[in-house]
């Protein structure tokens, strides 16, 4: 079991429709391949954590990195982990029209992002808290990781 965390920039702002398509496709494909994690998006800033079998997520990351919708993909960490910290795959962002989204499986508003899981080491929890802060800014009221509390 490995996890990969990266940050990137969308080449142009993603519309609600872009985001929903990405959400649908990733929910479907990730569930199929046992990939779990979370994606943060705000104002063109992207950060994502994926966890799963290295034989699955390594090529997935390669594919994501080549995706023309974003650039400046910087891998922050790619290493073995003792177990999953996320039970499924979800995406957190601010849609322009939130009505249609709130009911969607796997969708979260940035301030609803649950605390960074305690199963992560403090170094990894710090990493996730930093990327979340980098995407959503310092002022989004999010619950900090309980291991950092």
């Amino acid at each position: 079991m490995n996890h990969i965390v990266y940050m990137s920039r969308a080449v142009r702002p993603l519309s609600d429709q872009d985001l929903q398509e990405l959400l649908d496709q990733c929910r479907r494909d990730n569930a199929r391949h046992n990939v779990t994690g979370v994606l943060f998006y705000s104002h063109g800033n992207i950060a994502q954590l994926i966890e799963g079998d290295p034989s699955i997520i390594e090529p997935l990351f390669e594919r994501i990195a080549r995706d023309g919708r974003h650039s400046h993909v910087t891998k922050l960490v790619d290493k073995p982990i003792p177990g999953r910290s996320f039970s499924n795959w979800s995406m957190a962002f601010h849609p322009l029209e939130s009505e249609g989204f709130t009911a969607l499986e796997g969708f979260l508003l940035p301030n609803q992002v649950p605390p960074t899981p305690e199963t992560l080491t403090i170094a990894d929890a710090l990493l996730v808290d930093l990327v979340r802060q980098a995407v959503f800014g310092a002022n989004t009221p999010t619950t900090p990781s309980p291991n950092l509390a």
Partner: protein, 622 residues
């Protein structure tokens, strides 16, 4: 050839033909092409002026002139805005015709009319116009290119496949200071720095041979003799399918940039070298807080590579109890831009934790906002401080002990001295001395006693400096120490006819400083005797026992006058506080007792009822 056959040919000719007859230029023969040109309506015998279709007024006028003058005229590329009836929305396409106007004469050479002959030259005309526009554009581009090449700060050039210069912009002459007559091909290579010449020529030749462009740097001699770094770039002009015949390029002075980047490179290298050689953990982080550089020493200290540490791995090096707070503080600093500072234990490669001060500050460099951090090993200082602190604590305690000892000793000695003084006065009063020398002897004893008193007081002041006089503890038999003390208080015991009961079997011994124990017992007993009720014989009970907490304790109970206890027991024992003003010396003793007990971690409790007595309980160690 038959006339109507001829007519048929003329009618279908792809050129327009018409005859216009008489001074009114009436329509005669008009073939199809001409009819189309004139808008389709050419009623025979009608004057042209009344049905002129698309014909412009000026052309009509010219026709009349030709008719009158009898001189033929050819209008070249004359435009007709033909409204082609076949095109539905009549897009007025402009067409061009060479129009020949030929006067017709009768047999008598009298003007008869005009022969109009129109050949469509639209294709040629458009081509001509395009060529014209193209040449205008080319001239414009040429001018622009010229301005650009001659005003840009670069030297521009064109060189052929053999390496012969076809063109070089005037900047070359300005830069090199060569006269316009200089032989470019001979001189240029000579102006290249000898160390760079071969390389530069080789690069250019090799690129030309391969049919590709080039980009390289070399030093070129400036007019003032200085060699300056230049960047030469060129691209081949391709004329497929042939090999390129020309290379066009520019030579740009990059001396300052090169020097600067050289300085920067050197600066960066020097900084790296510095950062890598100092025995501190140095690192930098992105604006988002991800560490992107650890110096050499970090690897040496942690035994981990930058890869293994990762962007946040540093936090895992801290003592596990400190990680969460350190991480939280870092998130906060990154969010707010506040400096980061903290004292943490950091794990070394061998598992030992050493104290470090971690400091980081956000600064702006060429790449934007970044964090610069350092972890300074302060373990030795920290340990030294801890040792010093322990030593300081020990010294402070010893000091207190000494302090106590001084009070105790001076106080303890005062009583026997007081007794001695009393005995001496009694002796003086009752004994008679015949020998005057004996009287003198008495005076000497008196003086000696006063001296002793003075010395005792001085001792109280000076003995404080005698650091070596610590009070060692030993296992003491309570009964023997008590008997010693009671012996010293013999007079007072007799004075109040006191009975003293000792009940020590529950805790017969005590580990304590001998002098301190004696002082405590002496003071409590003398207190009990001092405050004896004159109306009844004194009875003092001394009980040694073990408290509920399992610690030794001592109770001294008297049946004396008792005292009024104040609300706050802490102030009760204040130095020189006098409970009973009629009894001298009360208070000091209790103060001493309390100090002694204090210094050994114990305390004193008191209960008292006026008219019935007082009970002191000594908790030696709790």
């Amino acid at each position: 050839m038959h006339d109507h056959q001829l007519q048929s040919i003329l009618r279908h000719m792809p050129a327009g033909i018409a005859t216009l007859l008489g001074p009114e230029l009436r329509y005669g023969f008009v073939n199809e092409a001409m009819q189309a040109l004139l808008g389709g309506h050419t009623p025979t015998g009608e004057p042209l002026a009344e049905h002129r279709g698309g014909l412009a007024a000026d052309l009509l006028e010219v026709m009349q002139q030709v008719y009158l003058s009898g001189r033929p005229y050819v209008a070249k590329a004359y435009p007709f805005a033909s409204s082609d009836p076949e095109l539905p929305n009549a897009t007025a396409t402009k067409r061009y015709f060479d129009l020949a106007l030929e006067p017709l004469h009768d047999e008598n050479d009298q003007p008869q009319g005009l022969l109009l002959f129109a050949v469509d030259v639209t294709g040629q005309e458009e081509a001509r116009q395009r060529a014209h526009e193209l040449s205008l554009e080319t001239r414009r581009l040429d001018a622009r290119l010229r301005v650009l090449t001659e005003t840009a700060p670069q030297i521009t050039f064109t060189v052929d496949a053999e390496g012969q210069y076809e063109y070089v912009s005037p900047q070359w002459y300005y830069f090199t200071g060569q006269p316009p007559t200089a032989d470019l091909n001979a001189i240029w290579p000579l102006l290249i720095h000898p160390d760079d010449r071969l390389r530069a020529l080789y690069h250019a030749d090799a690129a030309r041979a391969a049919g590709v462009g080039w980009s390289f740097e070399y030093r070129l001699r400036r007019h003032d003799g200085q060699y300056r770094w230049m960047l030469s770039r060129a691209l081949p002009e391709l004329h497929a399918p042939d090999k390129p015949v020309f290379w066009h390029g520019a030579v740009t002075e990059v001396h300052d940039q090169r020097e600067l980047s050289e300085v920067l490179r050197r600066g960066e290298a020097e900084l790296r070298f510095l950062a890598d050689s100092i025995p501190q953990l140095i690192w930098t982080a992105t604006a988002e807080g991800f560490i992107d550089y650890y110096n050499q020493h970090t690897g040496d200290y942690t035994g981990l590579s930058a890869q293994e540490l990762g962007p946040t791995g540093w936090v895992a090096l801290l003592d596990s109890s400190e990680q969460a707070a350190a991480a939280r503080r870092w998130v906060h600093s990154v969010a707010s831009g506040d400096d980061y500072e903290g004292l943490y234990r950091m794990r070394r490669h061998d598992g030992q934790y050493r104290w470090h001060i971690i400091r980081a500050r956000q600064l702006a460099d060429s790449r934007g906002l970044r964090w610069f951090g350092a972890c300074t090993d302060v373990d030795d200082q920290h340990r030294l401080r801890e040792v010093l602190q322990t030593q300081y604590d020990e010294l402070a305690r010893t000091n207190r002990d000494l302090d106590t000892f001084v009070y105790t000793a001076s106080h303890d000695l005062k009583q026997p001295l007081f007794n001695l003084r009393g005995l001496f006065e009694e002796l003086r009063r009752t004994a008679t001395f015949q020998d005057p020398e004996q009287e003198q002897l008495l005076a000497m004893v008196d003086e000696a006693l006063s001296q002793l008193d003075g010395t005792l007081q001085e001792l109280a002041a000076t003995v404080q400096d005698q650091r070596e006089l610590a009070a060692p503890t030993e296992n003491l038999d309570l009964r023997s120490v008590l008997e010693e003390v009671l012996l010293g208080l013999r007079t007072q015991v007799q004075e109040v006819k006191a009975t003293i009961d000792l009940e020590l079997s529950a805790a017969p011994t005590l580990v304590y400083g001998r002098a301190n124990l004696r002082s405590v017992l002496h003071n409590l007993l003398s207190n009990a005797l001092k405050f004896a009720d004159p109306n009844r014989p004194a009875h003092v009970q001394i009980i040694s026992s073990i408290s509920e907490a399992g610690q030794p304790q001592l109770t001294v109970q008297d049946n004396g006058v008792g005292m009024e206890l104040r609300q706050d027991p802490a102030t009760f024992f204040q130095l020189f506080e006098r409970q009973n003003p009629q009894v001298p010396g009360a208070g000091v003793g209790l103060y001493l007792v309390q100090r002694i007990l204090d210094s050994r971690g114990g305390h004193l409790e008191v209960t008292s009822t006026v008219g019935q007595g007082t009970t002191f309980t000594v908790h030696w160690f709790e």
